[in-house]
Subunit: 422 residues, 4 copies
């Protein structure tokens, strides 16, 4: 991760930054300002906050004669870093009609140019290493927000009775998948956590040993058709397969199907997608279920969810790797199947994040970074569950076998699906 | 209210409709889409809903071969008319990034042209009378929303740490006002309710008799300076002058000042206005207090709020009339003082709506219109309090002595002030 | 109200005080401690608070060398008097398992004896007058709590799946009532408020003039059978007759019938009463409806609720007087019909409190008492509606034509019914 | 666990059952009926529910000609078993003034006699084994409720401004403890879960292997004095050491100290105990903190919480065993120190449950029992954290090294303390 070639670094930096703008391109300024729920953020806010991250953690620390682009942005676009100071209230991000999109674009351009200047400024070795590390983190951070931009705008558009698509056009039907199978692993002491010399987040470290009992893991994800059988068998009306808190969640919210499913006046099942309302494709991997739903389905199916150690052990053993996500973020579309070479384990990446039964806790010896940036991951390690793999909305190059995504047990607006274990 | 001269009606119609667009002119599309709280609506929604009112209650009823501009708008822009059918949820109006502003403008233009065509279409007498009545109601309705556009956008901009002004420029200082005095009325049986042959809302009818005991009413509104004395005397820290529910409201929300007041780092009092943050002008009439605050202030000052019958009796006796609201909606600025001729009662109109102690109830013999349009006023006659007069944000020509505005006791985002009685 | 004969006053005092204990007699200590909702209080708390009232407002003010019975009781049993100081939180009154009932009985006996000693202590004229006024207020206050004891214990027992009766035994069936009729009044300027030289609450003063337009008022209360027709016609499923806030209240709480109605497994209608579950008696006056339900029923029936001025005018004109409430508090049972002599207006008292459309506001010239005791009535004069008459649970001798009971629009646990007007 | 000697089993059964009544002995019927919060239950409810458990899961299944003691009790005293049917709402357990305590005592006596008769009824081998298993589970269940009776009544009494003690008398001061030390363990593959042939809960099974990295664990619990240093250093005012959700919890609830701490008017620290308010004993182990507080303290102190595997590995390695809890349930009083023989690890049992960083998840191969009784543990395995050890309120004989207690991260009313690890 040395910053040896400024041109290479600048190109990589600009490519990631431009991809964020490309994601916003199909949207109007109005679309970019709205916030559909406290957990989601406006597109404009994502564009500004990712810029704030570079300005606050790189320019403010390393730029000579640093002047903020706008003094109020430090508060407006701080997400959750108490060490940086005050924050605009999260549920009110959608009220920030100012700065306008044009000014946020100017903010991005300004910070991008200053970062490029810093990259090319002939820093000494120690500073170059520090810049490389922070740049890498900032770009990985931006990629995380790129996925959130897609899930957040999908949630926003789904609240609108017009059901507008983020993009236009028909959604290609998925090909019928193979019948599901079980892949057996013998267990034993296995290594968990990142071991290479590339980038990883602090929550993937340190690599350490865990003992895994022998287990089976499903060869592919649960499909819409399989989950529909659960729905039609009364899965949302019988407490038996549910965790107690999950059943409360179902009853309190009156739920009876996954987040984006609905029926038309003829009783046909539809799914809201980034291409608008579409017929429910029974062959595609199921998406947008909570851990509660994933766990209930697994119980109903006589199985369980994998632990994160099992998942990582299987992924490493099988040698599956992230591929290229589909051009349109919809699970199971036209992504190249990962792991085909390994024979058995498919859809580990690029389709849906996969709920595990593992709560999000620090690995033994975990040590967050010093200062405000140490708030990145560690302080969220309670009442969240780990998801593994990656989704159709994850930017290419972002995922890896040791990656730990995490959300509360009731979250449904991410591309979250189910891989069974037993 | 006969529709004798189509050209006159068309001109009047177009003038009111254009004023709504003029109010939106200083705002970006982003500004027009956001909703700061469930009680407020986005500017875009106001523009669409007022158009929906004409389309639903006039075009749909009277236009030959009526086709809706867009079939989904019937639901999206229905405010609260159960008789019309389903409604988009009120707290989620800010999520309607589609239709975009441009389409709402097109919607307005389309409906305006069709209304103009209908006006000029040579209807027979009965239909002309019906059209005149509905047009008049629709324009009065639009004027009510014009005031809400200003109060709602003020509330939205106040949530933004940048404190942007709706308009730019300094706010003229108010001239020192006269010391307050009491105007005495003898009481007796008095007529309450609208009696002329112009327009009024159904809630102003029928004119009826009420007995009013002798009373005094203040010659002008309470000023910022007078209310500041209450604040600084600990008015928000002592339960004694407050209604029990008002005191709960203060404590639960941790309140210690009117809605838009704040102090800078030097302790100076500022007020957020449509021109942005401004020094608090002690001479101006106080605005943006709830009934709870108005009542507590009155008790603290050894007085009380007037009833709506007292207010109307005083207004009629003194012959005060609405004038021209200030060019910038800020209470007490450069409006022509009403009632100067009558000598004593001033600021009855054009500055701030004035809380009365009267709950909003039907007048004896009240009869709402048949059909969905009968939901306009009558169904809100519980747990609301009547405000009289008009404010700096009320469109010219909209107010009259019998006008009954109404809000819940805790509402503060309107231009609501205090006139004392005893 | 002079305190001329101490023996008479002592006897009156002891009689009212003993009635409270008699009301608690059918209940166990366990029954007396529980609180079913924040609006209701435990029986034990009522017994202690009414004692606290005498101790705080009479003994503390007038007893030589006053020592509190227990220093902590000043806080524990203060209901809402900010002028007295701190208060135990209202929703947690049911957690006060200490002091035990036995100690509360001892508290009552102690305060009773000290009050009796004070009555007989040969006070001078001014002090005697003051004592007489406070004693009278204290006893009226205790009578108000006697009614609350019955409504609160009814609510408590209704939460228990065993549906225990407060008393045992069958409920006598009501005789078929007369068909309802309308009684006409001419209106005009009428006096409202208390005018005699006996006791009244401050909220009944001063007597003043109101103008009442001609009106009709129903000759009797709405019966269970009449309201059942509304229920069965879908009254709780159609927004049309409801106030907007009432309809929200129905939908949010999923309501479809009056508070204590239910159906058995055969579909028969039952009503929970102080004698346990009983078949719904179609001839009895309907009880336990909110203002929202009363108003919706009236609209559905093509009528409206009376104003409090209309009600009082009718009651005075007809000369109806409170009688003897039924021996078992259930509306419409065996109470002597009031007003029979006057021919037409019946059930004005002793059956159910009658919702009016009048919000609870101060009469012109209203002046609460000085000091903490002035918090008795005045501070509740917002967002409450006036009920007139009296109920089967009102102690004999407590009601009068000018009496103003008041509750929020959604309250249902009192014996509240409907008299129509038009 | 064979039921070979009915007399032994009957005696064991009666001894546990009588201990529950002994715990209720210092309390009045009033004390036994109240519920201080939804998470806590009334003593009477505990006494009835534990009886319901024997009646429902043993008598109903095994008694010839089973008749319920009272048909309504099946619903009233069902805690959370959906498989058994309806349940009285948990937050309303305090409203069950009927059945009275006397009837609950009769219920206990009746079920006890029928259970004793069943034990002595000469069942065949398979039925005897089944009865032995269910009896054992029922008694362990009752012991769990015995601990809850103490924590729930403590919480109830703490809400009362009289601060009554559950028992009277002074609390003995703890002796100054040893300075804390670290005990080192080498780690490796270790067995986790119950392995003996006695009783354990299903959540302790199956015994399985886990890999534990080398770690240190504190030789004793954190004391009140040590935690006071955190409080006085501003621990509740600085976000830095807190988990994000923990900091929200602190801010939303306005917390600044452990649950039962308070200061008197001179600033002295007091703690509410089962003996009433007492001076805070700085030498005793800290109790009544949430996982959030435990984790924040650990971060502040430069340490962390142990995992449950570490805790169990340490406990087994050191051979520490539960002893006899103190005669008065207060942490760290006069309990015999466990583990003294082993030299280093003390206070593993009998003082305070110890928060671990492990979420409550199924062990690999976990299989809940069939039928409703399978709801005992498994369905709670989400968003809860494991506590290990036992407390001063745990009945003698109930704890073991593999025992998994669990509560949500914000729970504070149990005797929950902190053992550090690193």
């Amino acid at each position: 991760m040395q910053l040896n070639d400024p041109a290479v670094w600048t190109a990589r930096f600009r490519a990631v930054r431009e991809h964020s703008l490309a994601l916003a391109a199909p949207l109007s300024d109005e679309d970019c300002g709205a916030q559909s729920m406290p957990d989601a953020s406006p597109i404009k806010w994502h564009l500004a906050h990712t810029t704030w991250f570079f300005e606050t953690f790189i320019l403010e620390a390393m730029e000579r004669a640093f002047q903020p682009f706008h003094p109020a942005f430090r508060v407006l676009f701080n997400s959750y870093y108490n060490g940086v100071g005050e924050k605009h209230p999260r549920p009110q991000r959608g009220l920030l009609t100012r700065p306008p999109m044009a000014q946020v674009r100017a903010y991005r351009a300004n910070v991008d140019d200053r970062i490029a200047a810093l990259i090319g400024s002939g820093l000494d070795g120690e500073a170059r290493a520090r810049l490389a590390a922070l740049l890498t983190l900032g770009l990985q951070h931006e990629q995380q927000h790129q996925e959130l931009m897609l899930t957040d705008v999908k949630h926003l558009l789904a609240q609108n009775g017009l059901y507008p698509g983020y993009l236009a056009g028909p959604l290609p039907r998925a090909l019928p998948g193979a019948p599901p199978g079980w892949v057996h692993f013998e267990g034993g002491v296995t290594a968990v956590g990142y071991e290479g010399d590339g980038f990883c987040f602090d929550n993937e470290l340190p690599s350490h040993r865990q003992f895994v009992e022998p287990f089976d893991i499903a060869s592919r994800l649960v499909t819409n058709g399989e989950f529909l059988a659960f729905v039609e068998a009364g899965g949302y009306r019988d407490a038996a397969p549910w965790l107690a808190e999950g059943w409360d969640w179902v009853c309190t919210q009156g739920l009876d199907k996954p987040l984006y499913w609905q029926r038309d006046e003829h009783g046909n099942w539809l799914e809201f997608t980034l291409l608008g309302l579409q017929p429910l494709d029974l062959e595609r991997p199921l998406a947008h279920v909570s851990l509660f739903e994933a766990d209930a389905y697994a119980h109903w199916a006589g199985a369980r969810l994998p632990t994160e150690a099992e998942w990582e052990h299987a992924a490493r053993s099988a040698g599956t790797l992230p591929g290229t996500p589909p051009s349109l973020p919809h699970p199971g579309g036209d992504a190249e199947e990962d792991g085909h070479e390994a024979g058995l384990l498919t859809q580990m990446f690029d389709h849906c994040w996969q709920w595990t039964s593992s709560s999000y806790t620090p690995y033994p010896g975990f040590r967050p970074a010093a200062g405000a940036i140490g708030e990145y991951n560690g302080k969220f390690m309670v009442n969240q569950y780990v998801l593994r793999g990656s989704s159709c909305a994850t930017p290419a190059g972002h995922a890896r076998a040791s990656y730990r995504n995490f959300f509360p047990a009731g979250a449904r607006w991410q591309f979250t699906g189910i891989r069974l274990a037993r």
